[in-house]
Symmetry: C3
Subunit: 337 residues, 3 copies
């Protein structure tokens, strides 16, 4: 695809070379995100951060990514209810707000609304989550993390072996990640969930049609024995009709250090889209894994900054200018990464 001036709305818009291009640019962002270098390539540019649904980490991650490229952020949080209550169309909202910035990152509770907004926007729009629909930068950062974690081991996304564990029915992130994996070759996917929370059939079908091998299971231990990645997810209790119903599943698949040691291959990477549920009744990833160097969950969120920097640099077409607007960091940064 042509990135300059494009909207980033869905993982479906990417071909394999597009994903590889994003990852190559994300790699080049490391000195800036890891605070060795400062770039001012977007000095003077403005990000419109429009989070019409509450979010802390995705919102701050987008904002920091833009700051790290030298740009400014103008933020709107909470429901944009005043104008909408007065009968304003999403078309009008988009025409107006897109006059105030150079690029927009947007979250909205209604599926499809970000694409509708983007159609009327005069500047590129990056989807930061539209309800149960899409959250493409999350899927990209997950896959980028897989690539990065396996890079030093002579393994990659092609021929990946991954177990996805937990609430595979409601988890937007695992759905999108599966779609992205369809662009790659010979992946083995073990789907571990309660019967009632299985991965939707059409996604399993898509994986198989892409030539991937898919196993489904409701037993954790055997499923994580021969994989490169264990991708754990939270039971999304807010999606159930009652807390009682959710509690039937919370705590069903718990990974802790002793299970890891007993069942996993050495250096199996542990991922999770976060937040993980650390209450005693859930603990899908136990705190005793916190010192395990293969727990990649915080490197995952760090990678979100890299991927979002890459998306901004690509849609604003400044990739090749980043390094020429740079200098060394002059403040204390020890021990951060």
């Amino acid at each position: 695809m042509q990135f300059a001036g494009s909207h980033i709305l869905s993982v479906s818009q990417f071909e394999r070379p597009d994903v590889q291009r994003i990852f190559a640019v994300a790699d080049r962002m490391q000195p800036y995100a890891h605070r060795q270098r400062v770039t001012k390539v977007l000095d003077g540019a403005i990000l419109g951060s429009m989070f019409f649904e509450p979010s802390t980490r995705t919102r701050v991650s987008f904002g920091s990514a833009f700051n790290l490229l030298g740009g400014e952020v103008r933020e709107t949080t909470g429901i944009e209810n005043s104008a909408i209550a007065k009968g304003e169309s999403l078309y009008d909202t988009a025409r107006v707000l897109s006059g105030y910035s150079d690029v927009i990152a947007m979250r909205h509770p209604a599926a499809g609304s970000v694409a509708e907004f983007a159609a009327a926007s005069r500047v590129p729009v990056i989807n930061g989550g539209d309800g149960a629909n899409e959250h493409p930068s999350q899927a990209l950062l997950d896959l980028y993390t897989i690539k990065s974690e396996l890079a030093g081991r002579g393994r990659g996304i092609d021929r990946l072996r991954i177990a996805m564990v937990g609430d595979l029915r409601h988890g937007r992130t695992v759905h999108s990640l599966c779609k992205l994996m369809c662009l790659f070759d010979d992946i083995q996917v073990v789907l571990v969930s309660p019967q009632e929370l299985r991965m939707p059939g059409e996604i399993v079908e898509q994986l198989r049609q892409s030539g991937h091998k898919v196993l489904e299971s409701d037993v954790l231990e055997a499923s994580i024995a021969h994989v490169d990645i264990v991708y754990s997810t939270r039971i999304q209790e807010e999606r159930f009709s009652s807390q009682q119903e959710a509690d039937l599943y919370r705590g069903r698949f718990r990974l802790n250090q002793s299970i890891y040691t007993e069942h996993c291959e050495p250096n199996t990477v542990i991922m999770h889209p976060l937040p993980r549920d650390s209450r005693d009744t859930a603990r899908e990833l136990d705190d005793d894994l916190n010192d395990n160097p293969n727990l990649a969950i915080f490197r995952q969120t760090d990678n979100g900054v890299l991927v979002r920097m890459a998306l901004f640099a690509l849609v604003l077409d400044v990739v090749d200018l980043v390094d020429s607007c740079a200098r060394d960091v002059n403040w204390y940064t020890a021990g951060r990464f």
Copy 2:
């Protein structure tokens, strides 16, 4: 007036040369707002954005305008209730908060409160709306839009012919615009509203005392036949005692493309302070006008950025430094304006 260090509180504080000065500076802001050039003239300066009443577009417009001059924005949104609930006076609030920035843009629900705040502030304050009272930057951007739209046609603000349509009783923007028009010559104003929502008598009187010709009507079609500008407004339903009462008037004056084609002179400019009410029961400006090149409503909001940049540059006295701190934009901006 002397702009450097002054507060901008009301349209009443301007003489004609002041308005012309603001517009001349706004013109010079175009390369920056339209993303051809970046200026850092206010690099290091801080705008205190104090919106004690919710607002998205005015707040973001002020913030983006300040960013476009190179400055930073520190924002407060929502009711500043904590200190006030503890008995703090507006004087104290102003003394404290004005120590944190170089200029303040403020909205407050109580009429007169921004002026009271400004009296105690140690830095210039720009009124972003104080209840039903004043919103001077909106009136300036409306008049600036009129000037800009007519500039290429050998017509100007003097000898302007304008129809104002809709809820002329409650609309703060039409009131302020009328006051500003009193600084100019030989204007013909057609006021189109339901009987119950007529323009307040004292404003009509002011227009007439300035030598303008004022007609009042409750019929749309004939009223827009010989004007340069149709300025449509929304029925401000939140100002009525009941939705039923507001609904008596919503949808009464609808302009759409076929009425426009049949009744208006070629190239009659359509304006609206936004948001427009696009629900079927209202539609004061139909969506089928969206492709009409004379629909200026989004150029109007874009002009808001220019006018606010001009106000900041004037009160901080940097107008003549803007261009000397500038360079070309280096990111993708195609198709934006």
Copy 3:
């Protein structure tokens, strides 16, 4: 202490030379805070401003201080409820959010939570108030104000004579200030409060063990007759079980210009942590003091910016670079300080 990379969590972590170091750095920040000079020493750095409890002045003061050093601010306000409601631990929250910035300023309603967060953070954390527990930058700015106000009179913190007046039981600021004063010599403290709102015994004990002289009183006039500083505080009505109970004490000790003239030594300095309660039923510091040049309450909040700039410069280890990244201010700043 070693400032570079350290958290600032409590006044208890400071020795006397640490306080003096902070004040010396704060002094050097004056040309920047008072808008004579602009420094870009932290150009490219990001402050994560995490106010999980509402705050306007402390939040904006931290943000402006960081902007004045050239850095960017990414802000989160309100309860961070989404992830916590989903069972995320403070450890996880800290690991994630500390990946998005270079330093964090944090307020949280729960005592001890900021320290818990800091333990997991990968970047320095500055406590902006954790419930009734600590608010170290407030105590520092109070003591810095005392030093600054007395500097021209040949008096200093050693041998200071201070009266603290009002709700000494609930006031977090007077508690912390007393702890800081224990690092200095020969201070005379007069504690003026209703019997029921006396300074906690352990703090009085700490002052005495440090060699300070402490008097307790419930009469205002005689207590302020021979002091350098009158530090007035508000009756913290929100801490009482009923408004009626609070109203027993509100308005008990009122300082106004005539009492000041009659009882105080010339040039006695008046301080207050703000907000002051200006309602007729309270008025602990009357409005008629507003023109008294010894009313230091707004210089106090201004000094908060200096102290916070100093803390940022110290923990990020850029103190000696501030002046080399500087230039003169080029916008209008007359009459501000």
